[in-house]
Symmetry: C2
Subunit: 554 residues, 2 copies
Amino acid sequence: MSDRLIYLPLGGSGEIGMNAYVYGYGPKEKERLILVDIGVAFSDMESSPGVDLIFADISWLEKNKDRLEAVFITHGHEDHIGAIGHYWEKLGVPVYARAFTAHLARHKMADRGQPEDVVRTVSAWPEMTEAGPFNVGFLPISHSIPESAALVIDSPAGRVIHSGDFKLDETPLVGEAFEPELWKEVCKDGVKALICDSTNVFSPQEGRSEASVGPEIEALVAAAPNMVVATTFASNVARVKTLAEAGQRAGRSICLMGRAMRRMVEASITTGVLTDFPKVISPEDAASIPREHLMLLVTGSQGEHRAASAQLARGKYNGITLKEGDLFLFSSKTIPGNERGVIRIINQLSEMGVDVVDDSSGKYHVSGHANRPDLLRLHDVVNPVMVIPNHGEHRHLREHAKLANQAGRASIVAVNGTMLDLTGEQPSVTGYVETGRVYLDGAVQIGAMDGIVRDRLRMAMNGHVTVNVLLDEDDEPLGEAWVEVKGVSEMGRSKAPMVDVLEEDLTQFLGRAGAKTLRDDDKLENELRRIARNTARDEIGKRPEVTVIISRLS
Amino acid sequence: MSDRLIYLPLGGSGEIGMNAYVYGYGPKEKERLILVDIGVAFSDMESSPGVDLIFADISWLEKNKDRLEAVFITHGHEDHIGAIGHYWEKLGVPVYARAFTAHLARHKMADRGQPEDVVRTVSAWPEMTEAGPFNVGFLPISHSIPESAALVIDSPAGRVIHSGDFKLDETPLVGEAFEPELWKEVCKDGVKALICDSTNVFSPQEGRSEASVGPEIEALVAAAPNMVVATTFASNVARVKTLAEAGQRAGRSICLMGRAMRRMVEASITTGVLTDFPKVISPEDAASIPREHLMLLVTGSQGEHRAASAQLARGKYNGITLKEGDLFLFSSKTIPGNERGVIRIINQLSEMGVDVVDDSSGKYHVSGHANRPDLLRLHDVVNPVMVIPNHGEHRHLREHAKLANQAGRASIVAVNGTMLDLTGEQPSVTGYVETGRVYLDGAVQIGAMDGIVRDRLRMAMNGHVTVNVLLDEDDEPLGEAWVEVKGVSEMGRSKAPMVDVLEEDLTQFLGRAGAKTLRDDDKLENELRRIARNTARDEIGKRPEVTVIISRLS
């Protein structure tokens, strides 16, 4: 059998988040494998209440663990690196990344009690790392975090470019610029496939450089009469630096608040990514500085409840209280789904009299992803035989594939679980593997389809009723049915307490139930549940979740 | 004591939605009252799971019911009219509205078994309705629903203009245009206060006319090769008509799908608002028409799970299945908080190969609210002594008040429950009344602060554990503790079933518990709950909600 080159997204294709892509080369079903990125997605109340983090289901990879050579991580964003500490034990192979990313990865390994030394720091292109039949290089590209890289993945079937998240920024301020000449050089002997980020395919304008926000931010901060607070993604180190420098030029002391903000700046300095960050002061010192000479850089641009932004909006945080006339800048966009949390903070700040400036003017934030014209430009620079859109919802992948097709390149929409054969001139679907989501729920991993979260959602919608009955040695009811409710209206249509109405109906049923029903736990439980739900529906128009407890003296 | 004019928002000020504004005139605390609008807000999973609708808490009005003269409704949007059927019984006074709005209000009364004849149809300005010391006129103004009106509220203290929701559209297509000359005439003898919609105060550009979207929609529909489906807010009758006409001109049969879509068109025709709507066909007939000759106008522009859009995105609906190459137009914006539902539909459509066009280009939708320059223009036309911003979150009210202040007008931020005295030259706070939210939960009304929804949210986050113990006549445990879980991981850190671990810890506790504890229901319950929660925390890192059932044979 001849060798083939395969591509299999396990996460990140058909959604934004939890990126995980497998490449393989070798004989069919014996391909040697590498994994590119292993990220997380974030939960929401609508679909995954109580869940801490979401991972791609990598069961397929676990089953084929003996074929896995290595993990390569393109950059340090949570949706590319976040699961490494949780999943490494299941993979057991070396993890390769550039210095800044590797630094973050080691933190994540340590946080989960995993070995840090399996994370190996590699240099950028032209250095390459051998992993089975693959040779992999980290080709620098600009993004909203330092040291983001595309991967050059060479195998006997040819060269593949895996873009990772990117934008075409030639003045990114921190980290490497996009260098078209270098890219052309890398791609000049022909590229089989470009696997390419799709998140911003619907943004019609060319992307703007990180350098464009500096003057705007500087003017805003210079004109502020009182305290200035600014929030952005902590990992956008270039932006954090721009903000800090704007504060410094305006004669303000800079204070970082929030764990992620301090960790990212520290990681950047440690790894040499950041060499000239303004001096910062501690929150304790900040509290004693006149407010017009202070600028806080804080976490929580997405409205996260426990982050510094939300805490400042609720009141005193680290000894600091915002006041009438202070300025709060969101140098960030709100990720869809986070609007309510962000708006809550803005309104709380408004109640304090704080002036909030957000991204609506377009002046204080630029995206880290390639827009539609930028994607086309990268296609042209790389000039691949085929373009495989990745990282995006279905609508993004489809639009990106159309774009490539229109330019005469082969393309295909491959969502999570779709295994493509890239060996020929056209990508072809060669199989499907089961994929899905795994939830980190407190300290344990549960399956998204286990029914646990479904039960929670049902309780959230309808409340919960506990029904308790006691039966004696002869299976005769002892006393009345006993009911407790949670999350259920106390009064219903009959204007009597719900608990009383339920207990009466259930007790009446017990009185008329036959011996056969009373003897049979399953039957009795089903009947009690049915009656409880029907009575509730009549009383309050809802059918709660019901737990039935049957206690027998026998 | 001298008479005074008061203003009291009970809903809609400090939020978008559930508008309810009280005006009063007379001696202090004996003012005769009118209520303007009585709307609803919508629930969300993050704060109010399972809740059907949200109403303003009108306890204050109920307590002062004998002082209430009438309800006036500015227009037929749910956030202005939606609670009338639920609350009318508590108010018991006549309800005045223009024909189209009154038609909708009667439907709502009938839906709740309330008398329809208390809803009285009034004509537009210059007709006025007497209500105690007030004389109230409906002054037409454009908005995204027919027959929207501002109210001219005259009392011995002077003339007040209550804007209602509005935009300054001189070519609204359906319903009356904004007529600056008429407005100037009404306001020429001086206006004490303008109570003014604030929702779009952060939109910097002048609003665009409804007429501007027609040509864009027409071009899009004309170019579509296959089936066309369009969704918008059903109450935006002008848009529905524009869409239908675009279809008709492209030689397509028009089919309305979704109850609200049919109800709104019917209400518009019945009340004479709409005179020349294209002929529509039934869904049954639509199924037999070639898809390139068909256009569906459907409900569900906000991603509502049960509306026509979502059903079409999931598969067959009313005999119709969308296919590769069909066009789906969102002629609407996504209200913040609804993004996830809308995006889900777009991706489902993408999977079917349907081409989705949304509002991102700005070509196929215009807002129904006045933007910042429009607000300033209305301030100038009305030229009031004071501007009281209403209908908006705190940030909107604050910005709107700033805007008025900058132009030299008195203004103040008055959130729900703030009673203003408008008698003098400046608004002044004269008291605060308790306000809040009431939830329609299935068939019953519950208080937002009753703890019911809080319990649901806790169960949604942490799951639920039922603990059952049985004690004999001597208060000795009979057998072991029994546990049932819902929404809780089945396995914990110790790799044994959660239920077994919980039962073991609880049974051990029962074995060592003293007679005093075992005799005391409260003490025993607290201990069992504490142990269950702690064991769960150790096992799975979460503390579930716990219901304890203690059965005693005594």
